[in-house]
């Protein structure tokens, strides 16, 4: 018996096998690429149409090698195919493609030349500097501008030197702007490579020159970042600039430049800037969450300037901690509603482990003015503070009592749920009943153990008034679960009409199909006829609403039909079957079409199901025969699909699907797919059809994806 192999040996072998597989896959892919390249080159060398050559170029972007460059280069002067050839040349690795683009850049003019220059820039071809230098002086301003940008993309000291030399002599505004862009691009790359001083020189050159504002904006940002902490004075200067665009780039750069010194410098400006700017600076400071100077922001929150206060209070929401609590509490009680509302929002979201503890402490010592805010915070922050909240239920002020109830609703645990049950069932003040019931509902649906919750609620029913019983039943229906269902079933059979009414109504809205057997049984055995009808409708409502295997749904409809002779409920069953089309459902619908009272509805349902199932899944002729409809002679004259001016002619598609019934079943499930795309995305569309049935002209309009059932003219 051989020794077991070590884990390491097995892993090594598996790895080797995988590498071999990978290399053979790569080899196979390379071989396929070579074959493909040969095929594509044959197209380029042939007298194939421009369309075929264009597609060949596009594929050479993947399969082409240096061997393809010669043929591609021949297309560069071709106005139609030049851009297609560059698609391949930009992608093919190696120096041959660069050389071909440089050669063309030396010979071509106008837009085609610009294309070559752009591609050299994309490929960052350092050997292109001479040709780009030449083109930088081109009399065609667009060519010169393209060369400047390309130099910026190539980057490096030599490219930068060419641009710096060109700037003082360039006079055409677009070219000057492009040279500045090239300089900034060079500087960005230097900055990313850690060449701060070199990049700063370029940025300063641009921002000191007579340039369009946007170039100065970019250069100013770069000049600040390149100087790092030494850029703070320039940052501050920018924030005070009379130019709005420079102030704005100051705000953006303030978010990018790191360091505590920056935070302090920004904070120092709050008193020196006009309030509108100071407010915007506070927002920028809050976007530096790790180092935002809290004291400065809190000070701003206490000024008289509303704009500044709003910005500061909102900033504290994002970066504040427990130290901000007193200021925010004071602000939350402010007479200015905007400021106070925002402060409450900030308090609700304030970070910090100590915030909740402090809120509870404040609540214990609160007065009637601050207690509503603190109770609201207990609720919104989900602070477990039942002991501190309870005393407020005894307050004389009903608004405070209601705030306390709401807080309990948001925070009480299962163990203390009875507190709220008592408040809901036997409120000390009648005016508290609604608030208590709402709080109980909020608490109940939040309980992780809904059976345990339902047990407490069910037990409370026995000792409650009828009105309270109804409330508890409503809450139980929201909670759901086995016990809740059982309790509602029992209530639906109670001798009290009010309970029968509530329970049968709530069971019909049950949140899953578990209520189906209960409702079906009630449909047969409920004490009053009106509730039997309601139960059956609720039962069908479940069949209509919830996801389930279609066979189960059809069985529910069948059971409902068997349970009553009422036509109205039979029609409801048809609606369910129509909404959820299935072969089983169609069979049942066809069967119902034999009943005279249902023939019309069942026929329409059958056609609708056929429409939704679509395609070849239903034989229209057989269906027409089965439901006893006459066939017709249908001619489609014109069909358009779309919205407003974006109407698409879909006559041929509709004609193809038309048969000898007034129903047109499309191949795909929706109009867009059937009609080859969305003619008006994001807009409600219509399908308009002009037709003749039995030689009578008609016209109909259908909402997007509606069943296409043509009315008889």
């Amino acid at each position: 018996m051989s020794q077991p192999q070590s884990y390491q040996v097995i892993v090594t072998r598996i790895t080797t096998i995988l590498l071999l597989i990978a290399s053979s896959v790569c080899a196979a892919e390379t071989a396929r690429a070579m074959d493909k390249e040969a095929e594509l080159l044959a197209v380029l060398k042939s007298d194939a149409s421009p369309a075929e050559k264009a597609l060949a170029c596009k594929n050479l972007a993947i399969y082409g090698s240096e061997a393809a460059v010669v043929e591609l280069a021949k297309l560069l002067p071709d106005e139609q195919l030049s851009s297609w050839a560059r698609i391949a040349l930009e992608a093919i690795p190696g120096s041959a493609a660069n050389a071909a683009l440089r050669d063309a850049a030396d010979k071509l003019q106008g837009k085609l030349l610009i294309g070559m220059i752009n591609s050299l820039g994309v490929r960052r071809d350092a050997e292109a500097l001479p040709v780009l230098k030449k083109r930088l002086q081109d009399v065609d301003h667009e060519v010169a501008s393209a060369a400047a940008i390309a130099l910026g993309k190539v980057g490096g000291q030599q490219a930068a030197a060419l641009l710096v030399a060109a700037l003082p002599v360039a006079t055409e505004p677009h070219v000057r702007s492009a040279i500045a862009q090239g300089c900034v691009l060079c500087a960005e790359r230097m900055l990313a490579d850690g060449q701060h001083a070199e990049s700063a020189i370029l940025y300063d050159l641009v921002r000191g020159a007579d340039m369009p504002m946007q170039r100065r904006v970019e250069a100013t940002r770069g000049a600040i970042l390149a100087r790092q902490q030494k850029g703070i004075p320039l940052l501050i200067e920018t924030l005070h600039s009379p130019e709005r665009k420079l102030f704005q780039i100051g705000l953006a750069t303030a978010r990018e430049l790191s360091g505590n010194d920056v935070d302090q410098a920004l904070a120092d400006q709050l008193d020196k800037l006009p309030s509108e700017r100071a407010a915007l600076l506070i927002t920028a400071m809050a976007d530096r969450p790790d180092s935002a100077p809290m004291a400065a922001i809190m000070k701003a929150a206490q000024t008289d300037d509303k704009t500044l206060r709003l910005a500061a209070v909102d900033a504290l929401r994002r970066v504040g901690n427990e130290t901000c609590l007193p200021v925010l509490m004071q602000t939350a009680l402010d007479s200015d509603t905007d400021v106070a509302t925002l402060a409450r929002q900030s308090l609700a979201e304030l970070s910090g482990d100590g915030v909740d503890v402090q809120i509870v402490k404040l609540l214990a010592a609160a007065d009637d003015q601050s207690s509503p805010v603190l109770l609201e915070l207990v609720g919104r922050r989900r602070i477990e503070a039942v002991a501190e909240v309870l005393p407020w239920l005894e307050n004389e002020n009903s608004a405070i009592r209601h705030a306390a109830l709401k807080a309990l609703g948001e925070t009480v645990t299962l163990q203390r749920l009875s507190l709220l049950i008592e408040q809901a069932v036997s409120p000390k003040q009648p005016e508290d009943a609604t608030a208590a019931q709402q709080a109980l509902k909020v608490a109940s649906v939040r309980m992780p153990d809904r059976e345990a919750c339902a047990e407490q609620l069910s037990q409370a029913i026995d000792r409650s008034s009828v009105a309270a019983k109804v409330t508890l039943l409503e809450i139980l229906s929201e909670v759901g679960g086995v016990l809740a269902l059982k309790t509602l079933d029992k209530a639906a059979r109670n001798s009290d009409d009010a309970l029968q009414d509530a329970a049968s109504r709530l069971l019909g809205k049950w949140n899953n199909v578990d209520a189906a057997p209960v409702l079906l049984d009630l449909a047969k055995t409920a004490p009053a006829d009106k509730y039997r009808v309601r139960a059956l409708r609720g039962y069908l409502g479940l069949a209509r609403k919830f996801a389930m295997p279609e066979a189960d749904r059809v069985q529910m409809c069948r059971s409902a039909i068997d349970a009553t002779g009422r036509v109205a409920e039979h029609k409801l069953a048809l609606e369910v079957l129509k909404l959820h089309p299935s072969p089983e459902g169609l069979q049942l619908v066809v069967m119902l079409s034999k009943t005279p009272e249902l023939k019309s509805d069942a026929s329409a349902a059958a056609l609708a199901i056929a429409q939704k199932m679509g395609g070849d899944s239903v034989n229209a002729n057989e269906l027409i025969r089965a439901i006893g409809l006459d066939t017709i002679k249908l001619e489609i004259l014109k069909a358009e699909y779309g919205a407003g001016a974006a109407m698409k002619d879909v006559t041929e598609v509709v004609k193809k699907q038309a048969s000898n019934v007034p129903l047109i079943a499309l191949n795909a499930g929706d109009y867009n797919s059937s009609f080859g795309g969305d003619p008006a995305p994001g807009v409600v569309k219509q399908l308009k059809i002009q037709y003749r049935i039995n030689n009578k002209a008609g016209e109909a309009t259908f909402a997007e994806n509606a069943m296409i059932l043509l009315p008889m003219p």
Partner: protein, 428 residues
């Protein structure tokens, strides 16, 4: 974790609030009263002057969201189609009660106007990134519809450019500003679901598409439809009216266009938010059984899947952690593994994915210079994830992405698909 649609208990659905009523997790909109005139009109200094570029169907919807904002003054529309220029002017002039909205064929003329602070870019996806770059170079802030980029390199350049130029960029990923999606992402991001294991995105079709070279038709007058400007950065081809469907033209560009990008730029974007806007996944498997699995560096899986969703409307996402899960969709509703996750919170239930809040977020950031929710860095990461998934789809095999070098590891075919040359004279 189960994938079948479960019971959907009412109590697990969030409480409904009117869209305008605000909620605990909707960011406050502060237009200080000092900025308001006596009639509630916004003072001129507080107004944001906006122009529109490529305002078609979606753009008209976005335009409506902008015009709802009291501090927006819309002054110009640039579009290559005369009909649209006229239609947009009519809407804007009627709103402002004047005849001031300028109609411009070439958007560069709009960008040259110094009075315009910000632009709405709602062209087809072919133009999004290129127009955004031009807007940034001209010093405009921008709200740019999605998908924002056509490939990985464009995504990276876009993010870098917005940083360098100091521009405020908001991608049209409006679900980032809808409370229920925000809440779902927050649960995932803040560990309320336990250690995050899987995030799911609905790609809504993984089919690649390419806008070809169709049979030439007579080119309309330039003033009616400017075909050259319509093509813009896309490689040249003759006029054909079928290609005027800007919504799909050159979407995703290259050979791998479309795919997961159309909805991925929403759903994957939300998944990215759920994982804390970290760099995109590093590994993308070949698609299998209607789903594609990608993996982040920490092992969390990003799963693109077509089926298995709870019926919560379009654009669903699902986040699964060790201790819980959450799923949300465009109905405005979310389903949670436990009601305890809701912790009693009221979260506004706003269905139908309106962009109003997203536009407001953008405008607030234009004023404060903060980063909006759909900022360029976030959009860049989400789009890279989509592009990389599309490349795995196109190649039909696993690809591995290095977030340091922004390239695929030892994979030349994949790397060649990271970018594509733009037609002259356009550049990124």
């Amino acid at each position: 974790m189960r994938n079948q649609a479960p019971e959907v208990p009412r109590r697990r659905f969030l409480k409904t609030m009117a869209a305008t009523a605000g909620s605990t997790i909707l960011a406050p909109t502060i237009i200080p009263s000092s900025a308001l005139g006596r009639n509630g009109a916004v003072a001129p200094s507080e107004r944001i002057v906006v122009g529109g570029i490529g305002i078609g169907n979606r753009g008209t919807y976005d335009l409506g969201c902008f015009l709802q904002q009291p501090d927006v003054q819309f002054v110009a529309v640039a579009d290559i189609k005369e009909k649209r220029r006229v239609e947009v002017k009519k809407i804007v002039d009627a709103h402002h009660g004047n005849a001031d909205c300028a109609m411009i064929r070439d958007f560069r003329e709009l960008l040259d106007r110094n009075d315009i602070d910000a632009v709405l870019i709602a062209t087809g996806p072919n133009w999004h990134a290129t127009a955004a770059m031009a807007a940034a170079a001209a010093g405009k802030d921008m709200y740019c519809e999605k998908p924002v980029t056509k490939n990985i390199d464009q995504s990276l350049i876009l993010a870098e450019t917005m940083r360098r130029t100091g521009r405020v960029f908001q991608a049209g990923t409006q679900r980032r500003n809808l409370p229920h999606f925000a809440f779902a992402c927050e649960l995932a991001r803040t560990g309320k679901l336990g250690q995050l294991k899987r995030v799911y995105a609905h790609p809504a079709g993984m089919q690649a598409m390419m806008s070809g070279w169709l049979v030439p038709e007579t080119e309309p007058d330039k003033n009616v439809v400017d075909w050259d400007m319509y093509l813009g950065p896309a490689a040249w081809r003759p006029f054909n009216s079928q290609l005027l469907d800007g919504f799909n033209f050159e979407k995703g560009g290259g050979l791998v266009g479309g795919g997961v990008l159309e909805w991925g730029s929403h759903c994957v974007d939300l998944c990215q938010w759920a994982v804390g806007d970290c760099p995109p996944p590093v590994q993308y498997d070949a698609p299998k059984d209607g789903q594609l699995v990608a993996r982040y560096a920490n092992g969390t899986e990003l799963i693109f899947r077509e089926t298995g969703w709870i019926p919560l409307g379009s654009c669903p996402v699902r986040f699964e952690g060790e201790t819980g899960w959450v799923e949300a969709g465009d109905s405005g509703k979310i389903v949670l593994s436990s009601p305890a996750l809701l912790a009693g919170r009221d979260v506004a239930e706003i269905g139908g994915y309106p962009a109003t809040f997203h536009v407001r977020d953008f405008l607030d950031c234009v004023k404060t210079r903060s980063q909006p929710k759909g900022n360029a860095d976030a959009a860049c990461n989400a789009h890279i994830a989509c592009h990389a998934a599309n490349i795995a789809l196109h190649l039909g095999r696993q690809v591995n992405f290095d977030n340091q070098t922004h390239s695929f590891i030892n994979d030349e075919p994949a790397n060649r698909l990271r970018s594509e040359a733009l037609r002259e004279p356009w550049r990124m």
